[in-house]
């Protein structure tokens, strides 16, 4: 590999080439060889002591971070072989193999690099690295450097004749959109692919939840991030998305089934609790998506509606710490919680939604804080005793549904579902309701009116839409959905305290995180807030060592994401077209100048 020469700026080349100069066949062979070596290295011991999380000491059996590197290296190998033109692998890379290879190779290098660094830092020096780690590291390095020498997947834009190294590096990671092909597969095979896709997603998700310690989780994030982007560039993701659009009901059922299987895969009830909390958080984020994503109303105090629902359900749950000596059945408690949130939503929304602009943001921000402080003060000293103040309402009894006590473990077909798994299933039911409500309301007269109001309120009212009424419906619906989730949350966590409903804190749910989940995940989509919510719940839970720096890191991550992917992780089709103008099928041919130019500026004015 001594022949590799870095060439930062080709001055006389007509077309800018890849970062590293190397003949393409050689580069591909080197990538294949490098990733194969890295793959082999994961089967060897990386360190001598099991003190490092994940136990990387066993030869012949990869564990923890080794598994992640193994997957990264295997994907690199597959993409590189597909680029080589090996028969039977073409389906992997309909959009072009080189960018995908580069990304997965970089991801592999990133994970092994991080692992080696973490081992050295934690155990005190590089001496703690066993040969296996070095072999994998060198293999991954070779693969990554060689992958950088692979040709571009799409020609460099002609208008930038002498780009810098960074521009060429970024271009080398792009790929053209995969061509749309009418699939020749029979529909059962397509359905099977969808099912496999969701099963894979379930496995990845379960693995992420199950990682113990911060190091494997960071490795997990690196690997998943790079591999997902790689698969996206290769065009596999868009192919899969096209399939899910074609068989929409199958896809929804498969997603539901995958979620249903989640508690069965967990032998540890604690992970089921994390899953339940993720589900609550993500569901609330989806409810917020009605308000923010569809109707475009910035709600900065949304978590208060979750709190209203939770407190209401807690007060009528029959616990001894409630001032009301009533015990509603669960369904009635849920309806009461949702109803209370609805009332608060209308009370907050009615005076403010008549105004435009940022008033709503300010009022909701205020409402969120007022709710928390009021609940804190209704303690019998500063005010009437309703909520026990900062003690909160505790000892909320478990839900009993049709004589089935959710607090007791349940045995089904050889599996034992613990308490938290039961609540996971209960919450899943409500998530399905919220998803259905979101989809059905979004694709209807009222949903179109929401989007129209978001796009241009003046034009929307000129089209006969009663802006205030429609916005109030969105706001009240969002509040109701949060109240629904809050009622379940009260029972899951045994208690409700004012401190869990802040505007911003290091742990979800709070208003800032909810908003971030919607924006990170993708506004206006169903899966966006669910994925965003899962990520934003897991990251603080797993990286607790960052403590005070969490919000800082969170802010940085937000800025980076908004810079490089403003439409969020999952983009709905509209947003994708909105933020990335070029290369889309929908962009029409330009009109003839000069009138076209004049009118374009006028239209934008």
């Amino acid at each position: 590999m001594a022949t590799i020469t870095k060439n930062p700026a080709p001055s006389n080349d007509a077309t800018p080439g890849p970062l590293v100069k190397l003949p393409a066949p050689g580069a591909r062979l080197a990538t294949i060889a490098g990733s194969a070596v890295a793959l082999a290295g994961t089967f060897m011991a990386w360190t001598w002591t099991s003190e490092f999380p994940g136990d990387l000491t066993v030869t012949g059996y990869p564990a923890g971070l080794q598994v992640l590197v193994l997957i990264g290296a295997a994907l690199t190998l597959l993409f590189a072989l597909s680029g080589q033109g090996i028969r039977g692998l073409g389906w992997l890379t309909p959009g072009g193999a080189n960018a995908a290879t580069r990304l997965t190779a970089l991801g592999t290098l990133g994970t092994i690099g991080y692992t080696m660094g973490a081992i050295a830092a934690e155990l005190g020096g590089v001496v703690n690295l066993e040969p296996g780690a070095w072999i994998t590291g060198i293999g991954a390095l070779i693969a990554a450097v060689a992958a950088l020498a692979l040709p571009f997947d799409q020609p460099y834009p002609a208008d930038d004749s002498d780009p810098g190294a960074w521009a060429r590096f970024r271009h080398s990671l792009t790929a053209p959109a995969a061509p749309r092909v009418s699939s020749k597969l029979p529909s059962w095979a397509e359905i099977l692919i969808i099912v496999a896709g969701f099963a894979l997603a379930l496995i990845v998700f379960t693995y992420g939840i199950g990682t113990e310690g911060a190091e494997p989780f960071i490795g997990f994030l690196i690997t998943v991030g790079f591999c997902f982007t790689g698969a996206n560039r290769a065009g596999v993701v868009s192919r899969l998305t096209a399939l899910t659009h074609k068989h929409r009901n199958v896809a929804l059922t498969a997603a539901f089934a995958a979620a249903l299987c989640f508690p069965l895969t967990q032998d540890n009830d604690y992970f089921a609790l994390i899953g339940t909390n993720i589900l609550i958080f993500a569901t609330v984020a989806l409810g917020l998506n009605v308000v923010v994503g569809l109707a475009g109303l910035l709600d900065l105090g949304y978590v208060a509606f979750l709190g209203v629902g939770a407190y209401t359900a807690a007060l009528v749950s029959g616990t001894s710490s409630s001032v009301f000596d009533v015990q509603f059945p669960f369904w009635a408690a849920v309806l009461t919680g949702a109803g209370a949130s609805l009332v608060f939503g209308v009370v907050i929304g009615a005076p403010t939604l008549r105004l435009r602009g940022d008033y709503l943001a300010i009022v909701t921000l205020g409402f969120g804080e007022i709710f928390r402080i009021t609940v804190n003060n209704l303690n019998g000293k500063a005010g009437p005793d309703v909520t026990n103040g900062s003690q909160g309402i505790t000892q909320i009894p478990d839900v009993v549904l049709f004589g089935w006590d959710l607090g007791q473990p349940l045995d089904i077909a050889g599996f034992t579902l613990g308490r938290n798994a039961n609540y996971f299933l209960l919450m899943l039911f409500f998530t399905v309701i919220v998803v259905t409500v979101f989809r059905r309301s979004g694709e209807s007269r009222i949903g179109r009116a929401w989007v129209a109001i978001r796009e241009d309120e003046t034009a929307a009212t000129a089209m006969g839409i009663n802006g205030f009424r429609v916005k109030l419906i969105a706001f009240a619906l969002g509040a109701t959905l949060a109240g629904l989730a809050g009622a379940v949350q009260a029972h899951v966590s045994y208690s409700v305290t004012p401190d869990s409903y802040k505007f911003a804190s290091t742990a979800p749910p709070n208003s800032a995180f909810l908003l971030a989940a919607v924006i990170l995940g993708g506004m206006g989509t169903v899966s966006g807030p669910l994925i965003g919510g899962a990520l934003l719940f897991l990251i603080p839970a797993k990286l607790s060592f960052m403590e005070n720096y969490q919000l800082l890191a969170f802010g940085l991550a937000l800025i980076i994401l908004m810079r490089f992917r403003p439409e969020g992780i999952i983009a709905d089709r509209r947003k994708q077209l909105e933020f990335h103008d070029t290369g889309q099928l929908d962009v029409p041919e330009q009109r003839l100048p000069p009138e076209g130019g004049v009118s374009a500026t006028k239209a934008g004015a």
């Binding site: 309301s441 209807s444 241009d456 419906i473």
Partner: protein, 288 residues
Amino acid sequence: MTSNGSSPVLDASGVTMRFGGLTAVRNVDLTVNSGEIVGLIGPNGAGKTTFFNCLTGLYVPTEGKVSYKGTVLPPKPHLVTQAGIARTFQNIRLFANMTVLENVLVGRHTRTKEGLFSALVRGPGFKKAEKESKERAMELLEFTGLAKKADHLSRNLPYGEQRKLEIARALASEPGLLLLDEPTAGMNPQETRAAEELIFAIRDQGIAVLVIEHDMRFIFNLCDRVACLVQGEKLVEGTPEVVQRDERVIAAYLGTPFEGAPGADELAEVEAAEAAAPSTNSRTEDAQ
């Protein structure tokens, strides 16, 4: 609806609009009869768009009243649209990130009743209404020649088609009167002619049209009657021939020559100034 031109669709009387000390529109009367195309002209800043906004409820007129088919209109835009007056905007205001079809479906809002509850339940009534709305919207897209682009985002349409889509969206609310605010601004001569034909076709469907335009050839070809607003007041109203020859209108557009000043110089200056600013005062004469 008869097209003999006798029954008034729109009757605005004594409309005055003041913004603080500024009177943008002063005591303007205007009627539009069914089956009629009426033009509203005037120099920039004459108050044409303000008058439009008073008609459509975006502004509440300080004085005067506006009635549609005999009933006084409430000063709320969505109620005006519900009553049967639809409009387009001077600077196109489409729902940029909705598809062409969705834009037109939003226009159907006042003619459908399905609320949140029926959207969630999705009963047969809901499905029927959605289907009918889609059919009607596609008809309108066929009518305006945009059917092939139904799935495109409206922001990606070329300028001329955006104008057409705005008209289609307005027509979706099944209006009795269509208000067009500079429908040919920024268009080339071919597109202007196409717009002309489209407006005639709309009139032939029994919809009265009130149009603001700067393109004099367009307006005198199109309109049965033309009113000229200058500094917020109606200067003259009548057939295109009458308005075209009215000296006050010419003076309002080109200015009055000074006593003893050579008028030709003045005229050349004004024309040069207008030619230099085609984007704000687009005329087909400039393009040709």
